[in-house]
Assembly symmetry: C2
Homo-oligomer: 227 residues x 2
């Protein structure tokens, strides 16, 4: 097995018995008909579960409305691509000539998909628990980082302080839509980061809850952005 695959397995903390599973996970559709897309389909859900469980354990006091945006930030393409780069996954990808020439080894979508496929390959090579362990190892720091951000503080205050620290203007909150009243009320609120060119949206049964949720999304985005 080439040295680079050895190193990858060390970094994953899993040694494959069935080498073909690892190779399949690293195979883009541009390289061969036996590519990694079906593995990615399963791996995506292994990642989603494990990160959900880690957040559930790490933040016993956070409501679901705060956990969901943290998970979204941890499992989205750019975070996965960063993680794949930490593993130097690009170097061992099997890509067709066209993809190679157009910089496929660096393309975030290709890196993210291959990483998810690797999780499924581990689960098929051993079992679900082995794949969960690999995800936990790779995402432990990122979940802790999310912890620091979400830790205790109200997300609106945390967001404002964070922007201030970067000499940026405070976020602008606005109600974009409102319907019903009392128990049935629904507020669609936007949190506009202005200079950063990003708007986050949330819906909740109170304006305050919706504002908190968008602020939490914005915080998660800021955290994942700053590697």
């Amino acid at each position: 097995m080439p040295a680079s695959l050895e190193i990858l397995q060390q970094r994953l903390g899993h040694r494959f018995r069935r080498r073909e599973l690892l190779l399949r996970a690293l195979t883009h559709r541009s390289f061969a008909a036996e590519h990694n897309e079906r593995l990615e389909f399963v791996g995506d859900s292994i990642l989603n579960y494990t990160v959900a469980k880690m957040l559930f354990e790490t933040f016993p006091d956070l409501p679901e409305g705060r956990l969901s945006p943290l998970r979204a930030a941890l499992v989205r393409e750019s975070t996965l691509a960063d993680t794949a780069r930490e593993l130097d996954l690009g170097a061992v990808l099997r890509l067709g000539a066209g993809e190679l020439k157009s910089g496929g080894r660096e393309r975030p979508s290709i890196l993210a998909d291959a990483l998810e496929a690797v999780f499924a390959a581990v689960s098929l090579d051993a079992d679900f628990a082995a794949a969960e362990a690999v995800v936990r190892r790779l995402f432990a720091d990122k979940v802790r980082q999310a912890e620091r951000l979400a830790g205790g503080k109200d997300p609106k205050s945390a967001l404002q302080e964070r922007l201030q620290a970067q000499k940026l203007p405070p976020p602008a909150y606005r109600i974009e839509h409102q319907q019903g009243a009392g128990h049935e009320a629904l507020f669609d609120v936007a949190c506009d980061l202005g200079a950063l060119g990003r708007v986050f949206r949330a819906r909740a049964s109170s304006r305050r809850a919706a504002e908190k949720d968008c602020a939490a999304q914005a915080l998660a985005w800021l955290a994942a952005r700053k590697k």
Copy 2:
């Protein structure tokens, strides 16, 4: 423990050691501050993984683009609410007075969320494998049903035959957007079921592949609709 909770556990195929976990899973936010939303957050991903894995195993020849719409149909709210009704979950839900009066025991979103929370409660009461086994038991027939639909036949032909059998007009396919060419081409195609008032959309690198994908989505929708 009330007889109805006994029956629920028999139907799930899991006996809870920690009764409080089951009760928590059945508690809507309108009933108590200790409600089921955090459990639902975890349970949703247990369901997603297990159904993905079942489809992966059941359809060794289907590409990811065909598996994803099948999963979407199997895990969406209406399918989950149907499954919750088969378990008579509504009868044991713990709802606030307002929700009770407005028919909360029958509300699809409340039933679906509670069912997902139950999966997480099983995993915390025992382990992940126990929760996976419960999901497999509850979804085995539905996955098999998906199998019959997807089995071998081209989804476009299968869809046309199915609509014909119901004396409905054939679906109308149209290209809504097209960009690039050759290896880089992308087609956005819609499949319009006309009389049924539903349009399904897919994007793929060929018109034919995109048409197949929307037809597969339409089939999955028809299958889940007809209980």
